[in-house]
């Protein structure tokens, strides 16, 4: 029956279009009353209301009325100029395309170093490292809790020797490397610096980034060790230290990624991330460090999720709000302090283990949003990342996706092409306003640390996460291949990434042998200095750096801080 009705419906539509009394509306209200209303009579909207992935309403249409309050010069402006809505650089991708930076890390330092070389051989332009759980939590590989996790979700690092092998043959003045590590980041930053200096790289040529954003560990990713206040103190130590010893190094990459992956909305991601950046800068200022000494090296890391326009607008809103926060809220005078420089990663949480090839399409579209949003560097997820450390074949597709966008699609050739779109400008402003309102709530409660200690932020994220799951369960939100268009007889995935079974044993052996061979008196004295600096609330980094040179391990240095600061136990919010 349905098939025979189709031609009639088409015929009807054709007749409508040739209707000679078609009105020409002079404003949206008129259009809604006439053309839209008569269309809706015949063909109602397919759902009652439309919202962004973050729940912001989407109207039928955006018109000049929706951008009335937005000043094209003051609020949108020009790339490379305040408020940076259109981009942090005047040239954007026309001078230098974004950096293709795929995160990698598994097994031992040698395993990951091999993966780095594979990526560089295939045209990657920057490196990024994932560490295993013991390293992330400041435990050596032979710690009883570390054992089952060695090298599983990232590379195992216990000693300076491990970082030497990790970075072997990688010139640290030419290839910028990012370390995804937080609670024990202060140790890894010290190790990175030591290896760069051993390579003979001059201080002011050492490039690189450390994630080192501890606040989002308490709200989202949960890899924390110390209480938030002490942990923030360590972050500020690294900011102050790096500003002096490695002025081009980015000691903090404030991360919305994990907040979003934990279930937050784009608005919450914006508010809690910019809030964390604000917290680090203002904490530094409380120590007498001028904002302009640390803020220019604070960078950001965003999750690029499925709502194409919302994600583009999110990056634009983040730039505008951060610039205003740095200039007007904290009084930074150096324009470099106002720049929201961004690394982006496509949304891991959007990947499905079911029909994994679909992830290639998801990732490509998210990558396009990141580029149109003006990102400085980008990680595209591999199609198999929902269930394993990516295979080389899958990583290659992910890298090629970026190269296709850069070389074939012309999207690197134009700066902020969606500026001026009624919808994009309106949504950029709404995201900025909503994020600012939420951030002000946090600040009114005392700040980021206080809002973590009482569980406010965790509650916000848990509620959003539960609401999204409910929407999936009720099929108001869709995941293709999971709750719609399911392949009933699908056999779940194929080539499975295998860790070398002897890897854990080799790692433990190396660490124990270094511990045995070192000058014990020197190591003990250096660790004592670390403790003294922590107890006296001095900058701990010079002492940490000496302890690293004396072959103290990640676990030993973190244990000293455990004794001084204690360990954090969080409020349980679900």
């Amino acid at each position: 029956m349905a098939a025979t009705r189709m031609p009639n419906a088409v015929l009807q539509a054709d007749q409508d279009q040739s209707d000679p009394v078609s009105p020409q509306s002079t404003d949206r209200a008129a259009w809604e009353r006439t053309t839209l209303a008569s269309s809706l009579d015949r063909l109602p909207r397919r759902q009652e209301s439309f919202t962004t992935l973050s729940g912001l309403p989407i109207a039928d249409l955006y018109t000049p009325d929706d951008v009335k309050g937005i000043d094209p010069l003051k609020d949108i402006g020009f790339p490379g100029e305040y408020p940076y809505t259109r981009g942090v650089h005047a040239t954007m991708h026309r001078a230098r395309p974004w950096t293709i930076r795929q995160v990698a890390g598994f097994g031992t330092a040698e395993d990951t170093n091999g993966r780095y070389k594979y990526l560089l051989d295939h045209g990657e332009t920057g490196l990024s490292t994932d560490f295993d759980l013991p390293t992330l939590l400041g435990r050596d590989s032979d710690h009883p809790m570390g054992l089952p996790e060695i090298g599983r979700i990232g590379v195992a690092v216990d000693t300076l020797e491990d970082v030497r092998r990790l970075m072997a043959d990688i010139p640290l003045d030419q290839v910028s490397t990012s370390y995804t590590i937080n609670a024990s980041a202060f140790v890894l930053i010290g190790m990175y610096e030591a290896v760069a200096k051993d390579q003979g790289v001059a201080d002011n040529l050492i490039t690189g980034t450390c994630q080192n954003d501890i606040l989002k560990e308490y709200t989202a990713q949960n890899e924390y060790i110390y209480p938030p206040r002490d942990a923030v103190r360590l972050v500020v130590d690294t900011m102050e230290y790096a500003a002096k010893t490695m002025p081009r190094y980015n000691p903090v990459s404030v991360s919305g990624y994990h907040i979003r992956e934990a279930g937050a909305t784009a608005v919450q991601e914006l508010a809690f991330t910019l809030g964390a950046g604000h917290c680090y800068v203002t904490e530094a200022m409380k120590r007498g460090i001028p904002a302009d000494q640390v803020a220019p090296r604070v960078s950001f890391f965003w999750d690029i999720h499925n709502d194409f326009f919302e994600e583009i607008c999110k990056l634009r809103a983040a730039r505008r709000l951060w610039a205003r926060m740095m200039r007007d809220w904290v009084g930074a005078r150096d324009p470099r302090s106002w720049l929201m420089r961004a690394h982006s990663q496509t949304a891991g949480v959007s990947l499905t283990a079911q029909q994994p090839d679909n992830n290639i399409a998801r990732t490509a579209i998210q990558a396009l949003a990141a580029i149109l949003g003006g990102t400085q560097s980008l990680h595209t997820n591999s199609k198999d990342e929902a269930y394993q450390i990516p295979s080389e074949g899958a990583i290659k597709i992910a890298v090629r996706t970026q190269q296709i966008l850069a070389l074939e699609n012309r999207v690197a050739d134009i700066i902020d092409p969606l500026a001026g779109s009624y919808y994009v400008e309106n949504l950029t402003t709404r995201l900025e306003e909503e994020a600012e309102a939420l951030l002000r709530q946090v600040l009114d409660r005392g700040g980021m640390v206080e809002s973590i200690e009482d569980g406010f932020i965790q509650r916000q994220i848990a509620d959003s996460s539960a609401a999204y799951q409910q929407a999936l369960d009720e099929k108001r939100e869709f995941m293709v291949g999971v709750n719609v268009h399911v392949d009933e007889d699908e056999e779940l995935p194929f080539e499975h990434f295998e860790l070398d079974p002897g890897m854990a044993e080799r790692q433990i052996k190396r660490t124990q042998s270094i511990r045995r061979m070192r000058n014990q008196a020197e190591t003990a004295a250096a660790l004592k200095e670390v403790r003294a600096a922590a107890v006296n609330k001095e900058n701990t980094m010079p002492a940490v750096s000496r302890a690293i040179r004396a072959d103290a391990t990640v676990g030993e240095i973190c244990d000293v801080m455990r004794e001084v600061y204690g360990e954090y136990s969080p409020p349980l919010v679900y």
Binding site: Y224, A462, S465, A466, Q469, D473, L492, P493, L572, Y574
Partner: protein
Amino acid sequence: MKRPLRVVVAKPGLDGHDRGAKIIARAFRDAGFEVIYTGIFQTSEMIVRTVLEEDADILGLSILSGSHMHFAEEICGALREQAAREVLVIMGGILPPRDIPKVKEAGVAEVFGPGTPTARIVEYVREWQGAA
């Protein structure tokens, strides 16, 4: 009258990815079960102790780091030795398909992978209760 089912939701090991654990804890709570969520960074001993002290009927383990074999063997083994009655152990997270029979052999009753609607997990638990 039967008391409500008591469920311990636990995250063994060093992995902090607790979105799934929290979702399932909330779903069990909404289904009327008594839920004890352990939080993260739990050793096998800590989890087993919680199950025994809380006299739990069900243990839900959430593991995404790849260490599922290690914890399935350790925890199910200890429960078999120490628990006075059968505790239903279910697991959620990312497991390669060929490991699923192995964790079941270790004593895990069922594994729920990514994309499982929470209602299906609640239903599974209710069916187990009905059969018991």
